[in-house]
Amino acid sequence: MLRRILVFIFAFITWYLITWPYDFYSGTFDLQITIAGAVVSLMAALILGEVFTSTRHKHNIFYRLFWGIIYIPILFYYIILANLDVLYRIIHPKRPINPGIVKVKTELKNTTARTVLANSITLTPGTLTVDIKDTGILYVHCINLQETDIKHATEKVVLRFEKILKKVFE
């Protein structure tokens, strides 16, 4: 029930953003569109209820929000770093690449957290998530494969994101 109310609020905010019934110039408020938005959001909440998963979180919401905001610049930093690394490998005359697929393991349980992790790995140039299994095994394609061992590869690819994602999603 709580999830459906959350979806309703979420959908109503989205509806408000795409229609924008309040006009700043004339100061008029369009009541019809607002009522239609309420009906539509109720429909969306009833049809598509299970958007948010209900898991118990260890930390409170402000702690998670704080680390979620912190996560974005850190992700950007790693993306820029990986960009420079790939650039070096492209313009180097000998082209020092060693592509291959490596298996890594994540300890995150939440599917949303796993998705964010996989998308972060894909966003960093040079590494690409190919598949993910229910046991937490990720298949990652690297442009420069150094470690084929699962433990060392996990330390190299996953751990830098996992530390923060654990604080955000648990």
Partner: protein, 160 residues
């Protein structure tokens, strides 16, 4: 057709509310902004196609069975025709916009333009359910290679 990886499923779970809202927005405000019944219907149909691709056909057939899709297809056409015939009764000619003629709403508001929003909704229902029907009938059709080299054709039936 089975579902795809958990990454696709999670992203589809978050995106589906946005797609549904966008489709309904296009349909409801089709007489004020770009859009209309056709665009909204195709967008909603693509939402169901996304869910079918991400979660597998069993999921979407559970929430939107084939019989319901066929009924909604007819319902959309019927609403359209009933509005047309009502125009014959109230306005004198087929497809007359009798609501606008008798009770005109304020311009640029949601409840204006008489029968046009009703027709938009009818067309949205019709287009969405027809396209979903075509997709699901192609998704459940499968061709099996037999041992003697010929092909067999099978249509997965949903459980009643």
């Amino acid at each position: 057709m089975n579902g795809m990886s958990p990454i696709v499923q999670t992203v589809a779970r978050f995106v589906k509310v946005f797609i549904l809202l966008y489709g309904i927005y296009l349909t409801l405000t089709g007489h004020l902004t770009p859009g209309g019944g056709f665009a909204g219907g195709v967008v909603i149909a693509s939402l169901y196609i996304l869910l079918t691709l991400a979660y597998g056909k069993k999921f979407s057939l559970k929430y939107f069975p084939r019989k319901l899709a066929g009924s909604l297809d007819s319902v959309g056409a019927l609403i359209f025709l009933v509005v047309a015939v009502l125009g014959f009764y109230f306005g004198g000619i087929f497809f007359a916009n009798f609501l606008q003629k008798n009770y005109p709403g304020a311009e640029f508001s949601l409840l204006s333009a008489g029968t046009i929003p009703i027709n938009n909704i009818a067309i949205c229902i019709k287009v969405a359910s027809s396209l979903f029907l075509v997709f699901i009938i192609m998704a459940v059709a499968r061709i099996i290679d037999k041992k003697d080299g010929s092909k067999d054709y099978k249509q997965d039936q949903e459980k009643e």
